[in-house]
């Protein structure tokens, strides 16, 4: 029959590859994803190994915990297994079991994202952000850093001082904790920031002035890198505090001597400038001089007035000197108190940034900004992929997952395994390198 003959040449769809179209599209997508993540990882490697030698932060410096990353790796591996088991169940037409495994995969993926969110929060709490307005990371200890610390502290002090003024007008005063904060802020501003600033400016030796700022940076945010070098830098830092204290004690002695001298001078001058009558009562010698001066005709009153005004000027200068020396003395005593605090075991270990977490002190983390940028970029893109996977899971879970739907499950699974694959590389690169 002619009709039958015609029916025999019905055209068939001949796919180029022996796989479903969905799977083909997904594999094409994955092959672009391979290159996408390779580009990101290559960027990371360039930036990671391009920084000045030995400055890339170790995990502890940036509040990264390796075991949390390892846990997340484990969670993803588990989810990869559960989604494979879902596919197997679906192929065997066991829809209920497949749905159970899919649900478990969804839960595991959510756990991964939850842990990731916790990790991000840990960074944000400690002022580690990928960009400036929030980030408290400075790359190196220089005057800009000192300025940054000063502005941060001064802004908070000014806020509290303004509040104190307002409250005082209303007849009230700051709460106990606020008053304590204000005192602490003033203490830090004077004995840490200002001290360092003056030291850095007065020091003629450029290296010594840089070391002064470096000491402040270490006091605020120490990062004693793991290994033998860390212990050594830590010891050097503690020794430098010790040495500074000795220096200040020496300076204090000389200041005390100067002060005594100035005070003697002042006492002498006060005697000289004392009113004449009183002077006469006090001791016979000036009285005699007075008599002699009185007896000299003509010039005597003018000379006397001249001398007195000269002595008064001298007295003013001596008084100025005394004030300055007292101020210096107070400054040194304040610094000694600060050094005592800095030498405390937990402050050496954790730094002022931990001690005064509420003040949100800027910190020096060499290459820290680059670290934050790469960390948030890589994990962010990965987390975005996880999120897309979770959305896909929700859509898949709407179906009855019998054997007619196993191809959907297979494609979702392929995508999810790829997400796992990326993490397999990101985990050692970001947490262990």
């Amino acid at each position: 029959m002619t009709h039958g003959h015609h029916a025999a040449v019905t055209l068939h769809y001949q796919p180029a590859l022996p796989i479903g179209r969905g799977k083909l599209c997904l594999w094409l997508f994955l092959s672009t994803e391979i290159m996408f993540f390779a580009g990101l990882i290559a960027t990371y490697i360039v930036l990671r190994f391009g920084v000045p030698a030995g400055t890339w932060p170790v995990p502890h410096d940036v509040h990264l915990q390796e075991w949390i990353g390892a846990t997340n790796t484990f969670v993803l591996i588990c989810s990869s297994v559960t989604i494979v088991l879902a596919l197997e169940a679906s192929k065997q037409n066991r829809a209920g079991l497949a749905k159970f495994w899919m649900l478990l995969t969804f839960v595991l993926g959510s756990v991964f994202l939850g842990i990731k969110a916790y990790e991000y929060k840990e960074k944000f709490v400690h002022g580690i952000y990928p960009a400036k307005p929030h980030s408290r990371i400075y790359e190196k200890p220089d005057l800009y850093y000192v300025q940054g610390v000063k502005l941060t502290l001064a802004a908070q002090r000014d806020r509290l001082t303004a509040k104190q003024g307002e409250l005082q007008q209303a007849g009230k005063s700051l709460s106990e904790s606020e008053a304590k904060d204000l005192a602490t802020l003033n203490n830090l501003l004077t004995n840490l920031v200002q001290w360092t600033e003056l030291k850095a400016v007065r020091e003629k030796d450029a290296i010594a002035s840089r070391l002064a700022i470096d000491k402040m940076a270490k006091a605020i945010y120490p990062h004693w890198h793991i290994g033998p070098d860390g212990d050594q830098t830590r010891k050097l830092y503690v020794n430098s505090l010790e040495r500074e204290r000795e220096d200040i004690h020496g300076d204090l002695q000389s200041v005390a001597k100067d002060l005594q001298q100035a005070q003697e001078q002042k006492a002498n001058l006060e005697k000289q400038t004392a009113p004449p009558q009183k002077a006469a009562e006090l001791s016979p010698v000036p009285a005699a001089t007075f008599v002699v001066l009185q007896n000299q005709p003509g010039a005597s009153p003018a000379t006397e007035a001249e001398q007195r005004s000269k002595a008064l000027g001298e007295l003013g200068r001596v008084q100025e000197r005394i004030d300055m020396l007292t101020l210096e003395q107070n400054r040194m005593n304040g610094r000694l108190e600060m050094i005592k605090q800095l030498e405390e075991e937990h402050v050496v270990k954790e730094g002022l940034v931990h001690e005064y977490a509420r003040f949100r002190l800027p910190m020096v983390i060499p290459s820290g900004n680059m670290w934050a940028s790469t960390y948030f970029l890589l994990t962010g893109f990965h987390a975005l992929h996880v999120l897309v996977g979770l959305i896909a899971f929700v859509l898949v879970l709407l179906y009855t997952l019998d054997h007619t739907k196993s191809h959907i499950l297979e494609n979702t699974g392929l995508y999810w395994h790829f997400v796992d694959l990326v993490w397999i590389f990101l985990f050692p690169l970001l947490y262990l390198f």
Partner: protein
Amino acid sequence: MAEHHPFDPRSPGHGYEAAATDQEHGHAGVGKYVAVFIALCVLTAISFAVGNSATLRHNSPGTMWAAMMAVSCAKAMLVILFFMHLLWEANWKYVLTIPSAMMSIFLLLMLIPDIGRRTDRYAEERWLYAAEPKKEDKSSPGHDQKSAHDHDHADQNAGKAKH
């Protein structure tokens, strides 16, 4: 019959999956997945241990990085071959995976020496402004010996030119 095309995923009974499972030497065993899972966990533990070894980090970080990347590659292969079923797929798998893998590896291979060996040809003046301390050649203690070595090198080149 047209409605049971072998490559149509919507005809499961006669579809490629059923056909595949028949030929795939029964790969779909849960036992295999469990084995891969255990292997992945063990490998993760290994890279974790390597990455946390302070002595290795101190003495030869290069070895540490290479070891961790090797472990990662092994894990990736396990995931690709077993979880993504690539081990049992037909030859199309090479078409889609090899070009992109090659480009990725090429990118990395081009960039790593760019960074890792960027100081190799620094001039003396460049070292003054370099972001890292100058690497001293351990075999030749002094500067003179280095220039002597350069001289030898130049001689060799001259020798080659003569040939």
